[in-house]
Every structure is written in structure tokens, then in C-alpha cells.
Symmetry: C2
Subunit: 403 residues, 2 copies
């Protein structure tokens, strides 16, 4: 029987999720034990629908692989689909079984976040229950850095570098006027403030940083917010505030909630916290106020990735294949930081059910009453280091697109 | 009498306005005829208030000059102040005269847009009327590319490169889902669509580009917009739309106008056209819709400048000083494109009153019923070419800040 491989991408895009895909592809191509590698279109949806690409036919050399590595956002497409439990509905499980059987899939790699790890866990126990010999491994990715069991997630370092860089540029932009103004920068990370914290990394090297920062881990209060801004405006004309899209009031409601927009997982679609606070500042203080949503740019800015992150993202994909070849399954690949002072990581694995559906928030030890401490910034900074020489063509970065 | 120089920056920031400042500084430092160079804080406001920095003391070597070149957003600060005519109020003119006299200013360079050229024109005729021997030269800058008499403006090429690159990344991000979705990207340029047009440059090299584009030069119609989106959605699930912040309805009102926000020049503060259209799409079509405002990032993204633009921005500053030394005054430095097929420019000058308060829109010859033609893209593309090796330190770009 041929040993074919299937890989798919799931959840929100990142700027390095294709580096992980490249790592998987490279490891398969280098292996003597493995045959064809297929990619499922639009995550597990493509597995259910038997919508596969023969990647072995699409990627012909290291040059194309390198181009894929530097292309942002799930090149195979993605989905936000949660499998229902098998007791509720086994329809999709049977479809997946048929796809696996039809294409001799013996290894399935699923690159995604905590919802995707739920899929890995459910499929692993399903195939075990029917005694079908398939190895299933989850590979983490998310700019939110909110997966448990891993030191950090692939994709976070580049988003953090983007946020830290853009924050520096926004600070320059805001410093140009002498009139009083408040700029509110809204950063992704629904329930975890890791990425918002990255806006403060410049503090470690005495660079200007936002005057105020608000994470989802600490409850938000309109009055205290306005008081803090007034205090800052008394000292200097330009105040920059970094907020997470997911900041909440003490009753648990999101500052930026739009109640009419809920996704398939029941997550409220968040947008507009910065807009709401901009209006608040204008009403309560009366000065110029503007909001900047970093929006999808922070997860797709492949022109500004961290070399550490893109290298690690590639390696965790490569290493996940090695784990599979060594007989591991139903697990997720993770990073272990070996040393706190001198950054070094190694890959390892953990049982996937430990990760599925869990959220890792910024722990209290990293928080202060007014934001984040330097220990958190020292944790983040090494992940943002190094630049990548993005391949340009005709003035802008060259991207790889599966035909 | 010492021949001192004063330079100031005005209007909205760009990512290369400091390259022009560097060019001016370098030319002064290289000259045997000129002594100290001062910088006014916050544009002409700093000249009025005698709030000057001695730049000769702040910039000590080419290394610092290089760092300034790669720093975004008016390092000296800026303003949006229009001088009243001297017949109305000569108070500020006298203040400026005093500052010039106090510091032996014989040359004044004002880097800015069309409103700033009004200042150059007014001050030139004032000093001529009182027979005070000062040379005043305007140097253009604006990401909007809306100044007349010059082939293009310094700062536009980098903003265009940013818009073209980010559009490619947004297109990647939008292509990942199989569900129907409309993404509306809002780009700066109040009354001129040059920068919005840059989102289409990829078309010249058969790259994916937004399906629809709307410029301020063509009146906007909600019904036609919704019809066009429906037509695109019938062909593919993901539709990306590029709009200028300044698109207007046939009656002249802005789609994104917020009537309560008007700046000192009486310009309505524009924001939110994409948000308004996002709601429209959701109400009329019912599919997923999101808006992405490129916001101030497009004018401060020094990490992603065009080498052509940053080089030209530097040279036009340098050349403006040479023009002054050759006896020109009351003029603005401009670019002339020498050849259409093989991009080459040279600097020249025009009387500043020809430029002041004028707006150069995208001419009809570049427009089609559904957007822009390839001639326009061929005009824009050379301005976006080449990358700059931004100096990084500790993971993000190093900026120069005047103490």
C-alpha cells in the first residue's frame, strides 16, 4: 500500500502558515518512506468533499517551495468548521474515511489553532475506533499565541514584529502635530493580549511606546480610561493607546461587540472597539481622536516577517513529519524554550486533547495594574528578531498560488 | 552677514518626507556658501513662534543622516496652518520676519503639499514687498500625488508601493475561504484617485487585483455598486473592492463624510466610506463583508518604501538647495519625466503660485467606465520599483528622533 500524505490548513491565516506547509512538503519530498503529498482545499471541508490538490505535481523545486514559504495566508485555503461529535452525526467522519481510503492517505497533518486541534482529536479517536491505520498530527499556528502546551505559536513572532514595527511608525506619525490628539490602535487577539503586548516591545530598548495599553485579561472601565488619557494629555500633546480587540467591561461584555455578527463557533465577531473609544474620547475630552485598526494586515503582512518565526514555522512542519514517521499520532507539535536568558527552542509533542479548545491567556505574573511588565516583553522579543529577504518581482513581493 | 538656512515640513506626513529633509541638510553641509541650518518645529508655526532646532548641531555624520532618511513622518513636526492674506492680518508675517532676522535666515525651504505652497507664495511676495533678501523655495511631498506641474510627488511612490503590496497580501488573505465574502479596502487621497489606482498595478504582471475600483474622479452610485458586486459574486466567492476615501455621490457629497469633523482648511474629515459600504453590502446582499482602512499606515510605512521614491525624495531636497544657490526663489522644485517608456526623471522648478491651492486629479484619459486603464498603471509602476534596506535594530526599524 502506498504511503500518501494529506495536509490541510485551518482557522485564521497567518503570514507564516505557508512556511509550515513548506516544511511538511519538504520533509515528505525528502523521505524515502512517503509517496504523494496531497493538500485539501479549505481545510477539513476539502477532506470531506474530496477536494484535493496533488502538491507533488504543483511544487517542482526548492525555488517554488521558497516562494510558498514567503506567501502569506493559507495557500490551500482554510475553514472555520468544527466537526460535530461522532455520536451526534457520523456523516462527515465517513466522508473523511472515504477520502483517506480513496487516496491511500496514511498521514494527515492539520495546521491550525485550538479549534483545529479539536478536529485532530476527534478524527484521531474516530480512526482508532474503526482500526484504520492513519497517523494524525496537529501543527500549531495562530497570531494570537493562545495555544496551551507550547512556548509560543508559529505565526505569532511575525505578527508581533509587525505590530511592534507599525506601532513605532504610528508613534512617529502621531508625534508630528503639536495639537492635542489621541490615537487608539486596535490589535487582534480575541481573549488573549499577547499580540497587543508586542506593541510595547520597544520599551526594552528605550524606544517610544504607547502611553497606555489595555489587554483582554484585565477588565476595562470607561471612566478610568478617560482619566488615564487626561493624565497623559496633561504631560504631552500626543497620546497613543494600544488596545486588544477583545477588551471587556467588568460584566464580561466586549467593548467592541457587534451582537449581530457571530461565527460558526458562536464567537462574537469583534470589530470597532477602537472606534467606540474614539467617540468616547471625543465626547468626554473633546480633542482630536482617531482609531487605527491593524485589521487583517497584521496576519497577512508577509513582507515583514520575523526570521526567527519563519524559520521555526518551517521547522515545526518539517519536524511534525519526522514525529509521524517515528510512530507518534494524535498529538500536536510544540515548541519548548530551553533557556530563558539565551533564546533557544526545540520541538516536541503533546497529546492533542490537552490543547484542543483551550485558550492560553497572558498570565497574571506578566501583568501590572497599568499594563505589562518587562518579563513579558523579554519573552516576546526573541520571537520577533531577524528579517527575511522577501523575494520581490516588479516592485512587490512575489507570491505562490496553487493553480 | 551669515548665510543661514531654515527648513520646515508641513501637511500630512509621508514615509519619505525625511529623505527630502536629509537631501536639504546634506546640500547645506556640502556647501561652502552656507552656514548653519535650522529646522522649524511644527512647520510655519515654529517659524512664527521662533521654535527652531539647530540641525547642524543635531546631525553629526552621514550615518545619522541615513537614519533620518529612513524615518517616517515629518521629523521636525508639521502643521496644517494656512497664513491669512497680508491685507487681512500681517501679524504672523511680522513674526516670521523677526525670526528670519534674528537667525540671519537667507534661505527658507518649505516641504509640503498644495496648501504649503500657498504659504511659500505668500511669504515670497511679502519679503519681496519689504525688500528683505530671502530665498524661499517649496519642495513637494504628498502621498496623494495631487500637485500640479510636477510629474509626480515625492512620497507617492512609496505609498503606492505600500498600497500595491498590501493589496496583494489582502487578496491572499481573502482567497482562503470558500464562503462568499466582500472586502472593501479604503485608500487615502481625498479628491484624487492616484493612490487608489496603485492597488491595480499588479494587473500589469498578471497578478490578482481587486475586482472593483472606485476613484473620486467618477461619481459613485450605491445601486450600481451593489449590482457590480452581485455580478462578481456570481463568478467567484471572494470579491475585493478598492475605494478611495474620497468617493462621492453625484450630488457631490462624500460617501464617507462625517459632517461634524472639519479641519482648519474647511476640509471635511473623511473616514468610514468603507464601513458605510460594508453595511450596505451586508444589508443588500447579506453575505460576509468587511472593511479595511489602510489609514495612517500607508503614509508612515517607512519599512516598505520604494527605492526610486526615496532616492528621488532625497535628490529633490538636495537639488532645491542648488536652485536656491543659483538664485531661484518663489518657486517649487518639480520632477519632469523625460521618457515615457524608459523611466527617467530630472528636477526642474516652476513659479510656486502655479501650484498653490491647485489639485491634480487623475485625468479622464486614464479612466475607463469600470476603473483605470493600463496607461495609468504604467505611469505609476516605475515609481514603486526597488526596495530599501531599512536599518533594523533589535527586531524593528531604527528611527531618528530630534532631541
Amino acid at each position: 500500500m502506498k504511503k500518501n500524505v494529506l495536509v490541510a490548513q485551518s482557522g485564521g491565516p497567518t503570514s507564516t502558515i505557508n512556511a509550515t506547509l513548506s516544511g511538511v512538503i519538504k520533509a515528505v519530498m525528502d523521505s524515502n518512506e512517503l509517496d504523494t503529498i496531497y493538500g485539501a482545499r479549505y481545510g477539513v471541508q476539502g477532506v470531506i468533499a474530496d477536494d484535493l490538490i496533488n502538491i507533488s505535481n504543483c511544487i517542482c523545486d526548492d525555488c517554488e517551495l521558497e516562494q510558498l514559504t514567503c506567501t502569506p495566508s493559507s495557500a490551500l485555503g482554510t475553514c472555520r468548521m468544527k466537526l460535530r461529535s461522532i455520536d451526534e452525526d457520523d456523516h462527515n467522519y465517513k466522508k473523511i474515511y472515504e477520502t483517506f481510503k480513496k487516496h491511500d492517505i496514511q498521514y494527515f497533518f492539520y495546521i491550525g489553532g485550538n479549534d483545529s486541534m479539536d478536529t485532530v482529536a476527534k478524527l484521531s479517536s474516530y480512526f482508532k475506533s474503526i482500526n484504520y491505520p492513519v497517523t494524525i498530527i496537529g501543527i500549531p499556528k495562530t497570531i494570537d499565541n493562545d495555544l496551551v502546551e507550547t512556548d509560543h505559536t508559529p505565526g505569532f513572532g511575525s505578527a508581533a514584529k509587525y505590530v511592534a514595527t507599525i506601532t513605532q511608525e504610528i508613534l512617529r506619525d502621531c508625534a508630528v502635530y503639536s495639537q492635542k490628539a489621541v490615537t487608539i490602535v486596535e490589535i487582534m487577539g480575541r481573549d488573549a493580549g499577547w499580540l497587543t503586548a508586542a506593541s510595547m516591545v520597544g520599551r526594552l530598548s528605550d524606544r517610544p511606546v504607547p502611553e497606555l495599553i489595555y489587554l483582554p485579561e484585565q477588565s476595562f472601565d470607561n471612566e478610568r480610561f478617560i482619566e488615564s488619557i487626561k493624565e497623559e494629555l496633561a504631560i504631552k500633546p500626543n497620546v497613543v493607546v494600544a488596545i486588544s480587540e477583545g477588551i471587556r467591561y467588568p460584566d464580561g461584555s466586549y467593548v467592541g461587540a457587534r451582537s449581530d455578527e457571530v461565527d460558526q463557533f458562536g464567537h462574537t465577531h469583534l470589530a470597532g472597539a477602537s472606534n467606540i473609544l474614539r467617540q468616547l474620547v471625543r465626547n468626554e475630552i473633546g480633542c482630536k481622536a482617531r482609531s487605527v485598526e491593524l485589521n487583517i494586515l497584521q496576519r497577512s503582512a508577509a513582507h515583514l516577517t520575523s526570521r526567527v518565526d519563519i524559520t521555526e514555522s518551517y521547522h515545526i512542519g518539517f519536524d511534525a513529519v519526522q514525529m509521524a514517521l517515528k510512530g507518534q499520532s494524535a498529538c500536536m507539535a510544540v515548541f519548548r524554550r530551553k533557556d530563558v536568558d539565551w533564546y533557544q527552542v526545540e520541538t516536541d509533542s503533546v497529546p492533542v486533547e490537552r490543547v484542543a479548545n483551550q485558550i492560553k491567556q497572558v498570565p497574571q505574573k506578566f501583568l501590572t495594574p497599568n499594563g505589562v511588565n518587562d518579563d513579558l516583553l523579554r519573552y516576546i522579543k526573541p520571537l520577533t528578531l531577524g528579517e527575511v529577504k522577501t523575494p520581490y518581482e516588479g516592485g512587490f513581493p512575489k507570491h505562490f498560488i496553487f493553480k
